[in-house]
């Protein structure tokens, strides 16, 4: 998705001419967004495999500090960005939603990896949530299993573009009566109650996955345990060949 940058009223030619003389003209919006996007504090919150790649991104080779997002905070109260790195299971979903609710506005969310987008390789499992966007709004989806650290950096840059496109006069977190708390699901005996948050996500009308990839894994089709003590099967003796018929006794053809 392309984000349109906030348009400045000042002519670009004039801007560059003034810049040569050491005068910088900017708008409050640009300054404000520049500050916000250059110091995103992500939450130190790893769920599974992708968390290791998230740590690798913070380490020396990829160095997420170049983009101003190196300060991983352990508390959601101090974080701007939640990177959902890994499989969200049904048992973990209430906690993830609660953590997102506890973050202060403005808050952003990146889903890292196939699992948090759709369930990924574990989509057939009974305990896997098929995408965290069923419960909380997501800004950037990062595919991969796991995504490379460069991909996470690209995701962060995409988020920075989104921040740049926001206008603080219209920003929802300065409007009156904003309530961005999402309902926390309960873990019942048959999965999450409710199964999704209708404010955030609506199911598709057609079952895309079933159409494209066939029906999901069928569980319980095998009922009989193998008999391990049984003697190994002897290879079948070749069936005795039918005696050769002489030409005279050949079966009459259908035409005859």
């Amino acid at each position: 998705m392309a984000f349109s940058k906030n348009k400045s009223q000042v002519d670009d030619g004039l801007k560059s001419e003034l810049a040569k003389k050491g005068i910088v003209i900017t708008t409050l919006n640009e300054l404000y967004n520049w500050g916000r996007r250059s110091s995103i504090w992500p939450m130190q919150f790893g769920l599974a495999c992708c968390a290791i790649e998230m740590i690798a991104t913070a380490c020396a080779r990829y160095d997420i500090a170049r983009f101003g997002a190196e300060l991983f905070r352990a508390s959601p109260r101090q974080a701007d960005l939640i990177i959902i790195a890994g499989t969200v299971t049904k048992k973990m979903t209430p906690q993830v939603v609660r953590l997102y609710n506890q973050m202060a506005e403005p808050k952003y969310c990146i889903t890292m990896g196939a699992c948090s987008i759709s369930g990924g390789p574990f989509i057939d499992g009974y305990n896997t949530l098929r995408g965290i966007d069923r419960f909380i709004p997501v800004d950037v989806h990062l595919p991969g299993c796991p995504p490379r650290p460069e991909a996470l950096l690209y995701g962060l840059q995409t988020l920075q573009k989104k921040i740049d496109s926001q206008d603080f006069r219209k920003a929802p977190w300065y409007q009156k009566g904003l309530k961005r708390e999402y309902a926390i699901p309960d873990l019942g005996p048959k999965g999450l109650i409710p199964k999704f948050n209708p404010e955030v996500w609506q199911p598709r009308e057609e079952d895309h996955r079933k159409e494209k990839y066939g029906s999901p894994m069928v569980i319980g089709k095998k009922t009989k345990a193998p008999d391990l003590d049984a003697p190994p099967k002897q290879p079948k003796a070749p069936a005795p060949k039918p005696p050769k018929r002489s030409d005279d006794s050949a079966p009459p053809s259908k035409e005859a």
Partner: protein, 390 residues
């Protein structure tokens, strides 16, 4: 810690001092920077001392075993990568060995050497990261991890060159490996092996004699050898308690009988021993790598004569039977138990996950120590939640 800050107070002792003391129940996790993932501990504290500790698992239960029972044997291989996501190559090796046992496949020498090289490189990656995280838990925020991950990236470059993926390698196949190692890649590995001792020396001078590390680690979280054996602990944890048990020596699977290496043992079984055994194990791994790189010879990397059932891996139907294959994974004995009923999918598939079984002694090790020690003890067990919960 944010999950439920439920505080239960109870008067337990109005003793000689006449003061009422209370116990405090604290939930650590599932979102906590030091629980190595989504693990929760319910700790009852008396002051700062741990009175009881109850682990709560299942926050990353991804139905590994059930999925594996409903897909083909070769399709399980990428799922084993995601069990213990630090060392996918060892997991692949254990699963490949199990199925090869079931289908009775002979593996060519070069493939065995490649497997050994890869699993020893994995051991380096795992141990170096674990030590980094352990120091992180002690409060040396992120600096040791930076050192560790710098080396890890070098090994991951090799993995990416041979398999195409950094972490989830999916490199091994039944009867050999996916692709051959080129001379360039062997040279890359030789360079890593040659440079690694210098890094280990640097890491050791930084940590081994450090006063804070010694004070935090020595005589903390002691695991007696008897308890370790009774709880079927394996891997560096068991060896830190002074029990000489390494499946590479016991089973001599693959080509481990051709190498000379020692098994480092601890004396006391405290956190420091567990840390130091891992340091020494890395040096032994380097010895194995050096010998393997010398002995490896050109040849086929896939079994030339595979049984008929393996010709088409998608339609692979092993004979009826059961098999248990185990390797010395960096965390302990990793085993796969599989029962085949002669169809494409296994009838039963079970993973003997070392970090899950090593976690069972957590309470026994933590009782009597302080809350901050419990975090360090958990770090020294070396758990990965993908394997604990599966």
């Amino acid at each position: 810690m944010f999950e439920k800050m439920r505080v239960k107070t109870k008067v337990i002792d109005s003793g000689k001092s006449g003061l009422d003391t209370q116990t405090l129940e604290v939930n650590v996790g599932p979102q906590h920077p030091s629980t190595h993932g989504v693990f929760r501990m319910t700790i009852v504290l008396d002051g700062e001392v741990v009175k009881s500790l109850r682990p709560v698992m299942g926050y990353l239960h991804r139905n590994h075993e059930q999925i594996a029972e409903n897909i083909t044997y070769s399709a399980s291989m990428p799922y084993t990568d995601r069990l213990d996501y630090f060392n996918s190559m060892s997991n692949n090796q254990a699963w490949a060995m199990t199925v090869e046992q079931l289908a009775e496949v002979e593996i060519p020498d070069r493939a065995e050497y490649i497997r050994v090289i890869m699993s020893e490189l994995t051991r380096l990656v795992n141990h170096v990261s674990v030590i980094g995280f352990l120091l992180n838990d002690m409060g040396a925020f992120f600096t040791p991890t930076l050192f560790a991950f710098r080396e890890r990236e070098k090994v991951l470059d090799v993995f990416e060159a041979v398999s195409g993926s950094r972490m989830m390698c999916n490199y091994l196949r039944f009867g050999g490996v996916n692709r051959d190692l080129t001379d360039d890649q062997l040279g890359q590995i030789k360079k890593i092996v040659a440079d690694f001792p210098a890094f280990l020396d640097e890491f050791e001078t930084l940590l081994a004699q450090n006063e804070i590390v010694c004070m935090r680690c020595q005589n903390v979280g002691v695991l007696p050898a008897e308890l370790a054996i009774n709880a079927s602990i394996t891997g560096p944890m068991l060896r830190a308690s002074g029990v000489n048990y390494d499946i590479r020596k016991v089973d001599q699977y693959s080509v481990y009988d051709r190498f000379e290496f020692k098994i480092p043992l601890g004396e006391k079984g405290d956190v420091y021993d567990r840390y130091y055994v891992r340091m020494l194990e890395m040096r032994e791994s380097l010895k194995i790598l050096n010998q393997a790189l010398e002995q490896i010879e050109p040849g086929p990397f896939m079994a030339p004569k595979v049984p008929a059932c393996l010709k088409n891996p998608r339609n692979f139907k092993p004979p009826v039977g059961e098999a248990y294959g185990r390797v010395e994974a960096p965390k302990g004995e990793l085993g796969f138990y599989v029962v085949s009923d002669g169809s494409k999918e296994p009838w039963r598939y079970h993973v003997r996950a070392p970090s899950f079984i090593n976690l069972t002694v957590l309470e026994a090790m933590c009782i009597g120590y302080k809350l901050a020690d419990a975090i360090v003890i958990l770090g020294s067990i070396d758990i990965v939640l993908g394997e604990v919960d599966r």
